[in-house]
């Protein structure tokens, strides 16, 4: 068992169980909620894989998310009911790279944790309950279809990427989920829901070693049956698929997103460094402390919806910047010019220093949120980075690191725009 004290003072206890499950416990005295996430490193992009010695397996898009829904079904009831008896709330979500099951409770923490560790280990799938879930998920997909931000984002990724599955909806499509059946779900479950591919994070007013003991007991009969598995991702060209994608839907005003397809430059600390540098660059473009932002805002071309983000995991990296605008053509022109000027002039030492203060402040403040700590810690863990390295890497980040990221990460040859227009 290892114990470290994080920058903000909390104790973090970690231990790997005999079956390979990694367990992390952060002690947050005085908090009333206790929050736990059990996650598997398996997301929507893992739809093609090969168990060594077996045939290549290609499953319908959206199956990881479908499986997440079905884990809540029990032979004698529903997982929601088991948690509501403790007054606890339980939920789950699926991303491109991981599936997470979580609960939040005030009372009966030990029982709730045992329940979490039990239900994620016991799928109950029948032809009938798989069929009924299709109706529910179809409504979830339709809800997202009416969501302009999701539409424009997905359209952008489908322009940036030729083949990679992140160009698709996490939940798949009505057509792809129609092909999902019990056998395929179980195949995915058996391949990826193995303790060596999973991790648990607990945070709240708990005692770290006591939680580790509890997990140890609760998982004593959970054995790792994983076989060596190769995840197969398509050969993705470095360049983009198309430089523009447009759609009209029922919205009040046009939306404009500009995306840059990027590459992961290194792993572990190097990846985290890239994330920090890119976050700074986008803050120097798309927040109110940027002259670029305030100039476009004063011209009435953008509003508070304008923002940017960078996503980088070992499998993909890209940036997105944009928002609502009455004049997408003018925004495109002005933004391209502003980014060119920034690339020529580079970020100054003053700007980098100021952005470092902001990044550090935001990092410290993020420890207010149990949900954020747990989910973001595990996302970093699966990416091979560490949330705890943030302050030291931030300090060591040089102005050259930032400007080199600016040079490589915002390459016009790998840029695409996604536009939504009102009907």
């Amino acid at each position: 068992m290892t114990v470290v004290r994080v920058t903000t003072g909390e104790r973090l206890v970690s231990e790997t169980m005999p079956n390979g499950l990694k367990v992390f416990v952060m002690e947050k005295p005085a908090f009333q909620r206790k929050y736990a996430v059990l996650a598997t490193k398996y997301g929507s992009m893992d739809s093609k894989f090969q168990v060594v010695g077996e045939e290549v397996c290609e499953v319908p898009d959206g199956i990881a998310h479908f499986l997440e829904h079905k884990m809540f079904e029990e032979e004698d009831g529903h997982v929601f009911e088991r948690f509501s008896q403790f007054g606890a709330s339980v939920n789950a979500y699926t991303s491109y790279t991981m599936t997470s099951y979580l609960f939040s409770t005030i009372d009966c923490f030990a029982q709730a944790l045992q329940e979490l560790l039990r239900f994620v280990r016991t799928p109950y799938l029948t032809a009938e309950n798989v069929k009924k879930e299709k109706g529910i998920i179809e409504q979830e997909l339709r809800m997202y279809d009416d969501h302009p931000d999701r539409r424009i984002y997905r359209n952008l990724l489908s322009a940036l990427y030729h083949e990679h599955p992140i160009r698709l909806n996490v939940g798949g499509t009505v057509e792809s989920i129609a092909k999902i059946d019990v056998e395929r779900l179980m195949q995915c479950y058996n391949t990826f829901y193995q303790p060596t591919n999973m991790a648990l994070f607990v945070v709240g007013d708990v005692e770290g070693s006591a939680v580790v003991d509890l997990v140890n007991q609760a998982t004593a009969d959970w054995f790792d049956r994983s076989k060596k598995v190769q995840r197969i991702y398509p050969d993705e060209p470095l360049g983009i698929k198309q430089d523009k994608i447009e759609q009209s839907i029922n919205i009040s005003q046009p939306r404009y997103y500009l995306g840059f397809k990027d590459q992961v430059r290194g792993e572990g600390k190097d990846l985290l460094k890239q994330q920090l540098a890119m976050a700074m660059i986008w803050r120097s473009v798309a927040t109110k402390s940027s002259p670029i932002f305030t100039d476009l805002y004063a011209q009435g071309i953008i509003d508070d919806s304008f923002g940017a983000s960078f996503s980088g995991t070992p499998q993909y990296a890209f940036s997105v910047v944009g928002g609502e605008t009455d004049n997408p053509e003018k925004l495109d022109r002005c933004l391209r010019k502003a980014i060119d000027t920034l690339k020529k002039k580079k970020l100054t030492a003053d700007t980098v220093e100021r952005l470092k203060r902001r990044s550090l402040g935001n990092y410290l403040a993020s420890f207010n949120s149990l949900d954020y700590i747990a989910n973001s810690f595990l996302a970093h863990e699966f990416n091979g980075t560490s949330l705890l390295d943030f302050p030291s890497l931030l300090q060591s980040l040089t102005i050259d690191d930032v400007n080199s990221a600016l040079e490589h990460g915002l390459d016009w040859d790998k840029a695409a725009i996604s536009l939504l227009y009102p009907e």
């Binding site: 908090f31 809800m143 029922n250 919205i251 109110k288 805002y297 203060r357």
Partner: protein, 423 residues
């Protein structure tokens, strides 16, 4: 999480919660106004103009850079609708000074920058800085038009305006196009001055070592006039339920059913209504989720919300266009079940536990604990976590059934693309 009350000036109250649980110091200022067509647009506009700049930091750029230098201190503003009050809300938070070198000095700068935005705005001969006035007037018009971009919020607001055409509660919290267009800079500036010196102002502070800051705020000159007394919520019973259909090009249809009740926040039986709404549709174990989603598979989301100040319940669900009648039927049956006392002891217990957990969980977030108490402030009395949890725990099945009998359907609203119509 108890608040110490300090009466500062006529109609100005400060509530301070001393705690070192969080990594931040949080301050929120609420200015209450009657929700009325006369003020709604102007109040909303104030929330957008004031954060643009002060005499000391006249441009948004300078202001935002200053906040970054203060370790990413955050400022924000918005308007809320609480019953028939429109609340102008300002937000500030900064990293706990104990985590920073020279922290107290930095926090003092943060507080004074924040207060300047409220009380020492950048002005001109016309009132506000004319560019800020014009830009934010445009942005507010876009914001009002933009309601349609979030289909569920849009549907609920439309249902409410159909339900309360003659009551202030029917108004949208950001106002309406015509009154925004008609706003003049000098009038809005005069309005701002009157609001600042007459309307009830409540200041909430959460963080460590507050004594010094409470002292500083108390010494500020507020230049107050006698506090304006604000109209109480109007009250209306249902004449005859109405049905409204709206056509839009949406992928998913949204059904909203609006009900009136006989209880509000200040009624003796208010917490019986809270429990009643919980059993109906606030949780995954509630009647609506179980029957509409899990049994009939009609929806991904379905739930009910209680607006306690006005005593209204709105149920919303995203469904297929051709499932309208079936969904209305199943939902209506759940309300009837409550009225007939078809509630199990188990449903009651789970719901109470869930509600109590929810209330206690709010103590783990500075903004949640503040927002919960604002409701008490508006109704003239703060309620502690213990008071609320005890009141919920004491509710009986008989009381739930009794308040359920006072629930009456007022409006059925349906947003769809019309493709499910039979004709």
């Amino acid at each position: 999480m108890q608040f110490q009350h300090h009466s500062i000036a006529d109609g100005v109250n400060l509530y301070a919660c001393e705690t070192d649980k969080f990594k931040t110091v949080t301050m929120k200022v609420f200015i209450q106004q009657e929700l009325s067509k006369d003020y709604a647009s102007a109040t909303a506009l104030l929330s957008m103009i004031l954060p643009r700049g002060s005499k000391k930091y006249p441009t948004t750029l300078e202001l935002a850079q200053q906040m970054e230098n203060l370790y990413g201190a955050a400022i924000g503003s918005d308007v809320m609708k609480v019953g028939e009050r429109q609340i102008l809300e300002f937000y500030f938070d900064m990293v706990d000074p104990q985590l920073l070198v020279d922290g107290d000095k930095i926090l003092a700068q943060g507080f004074s920058t924040f207060w300047d935005l409220l009380t020492d705005t950048r002005r001109s001969d016309h009132g506000f800085h004319p560019d800020y006035f014009m830009q934010e007037q445009q942005n507010l018009k876009r914001l009002v038009d933009g309601l349609i971009n979030e289909k569920r919020s849009y549907a609920i607001q439309r249902a409410i305006s159909h339900m309360c055409p003659q009551e202030p509660f029917g108004l949208y919290k950001y106002g309406d196009q015509d009154s925004i267009t008609a706003l003049q800079n000098h009038d809005v500036y005069a309005y701002y001055q009157s609001v600042l010196c007459q309307n009830p102002m409540d200041i909430f502070l959460v963080g460590p070592n507050l004594e010094k800051w409470v002292g500083q705020i108390s010494e500020r000159s507020f230049n107050r006039q006698p506090v304006k007394s604000l109209a109480a919520n109007s009250n209306k019973r249902v004449d005859k339920p109405t049905e409204v259909q709206e056509r839009r090009d949406v992928s998913q249809a949204i059904l909203v059913m609006g009900y009136r009740t006989e209880q509000t926040y200040t009624s003796d039986e208010y917490y019986s209504l809270v429990v009643c709404n919980g059993i109906l549709g606030a949780f995954p174990h509630s009647k609506l989720f179980v029957n509409v989603r899990e049994k009939a598979n009609l929806a991904y989301y379905v739930g009910s919300g209680l607006e306690g100040s006005k005593g209204l319940i709105t149920i919303s669900a995203g469904i297929e266009g051709d499932q309208y009648e079936k969904a209305v039927d199943i939902i209506s049956k759940q309300v009837i079940a409550l009225q007939q006392g078809d509630i199990s002891e188990d449903e009651l217990i789970r719901t109470k536990k869930g509600l109590i957990s929810g209330i206690q969980s709010m103590n783990d977030s500075a903004t949640s604990v503040i927002d919960r108490n604002v409701l008490g402030v508006i109704h003239g009395k703060l309620r502690s976590t213990e008071e609320v949890t005890q009141a919920i725990a004491a509710v009986t099945l008989g009381q739930v059934q009794a308040v359920a009998r006072g629930i009456e359907l007022d409006t059925v609203y349906f947003l769809s693309n019309g493709k499910g119509d039979n004709e």
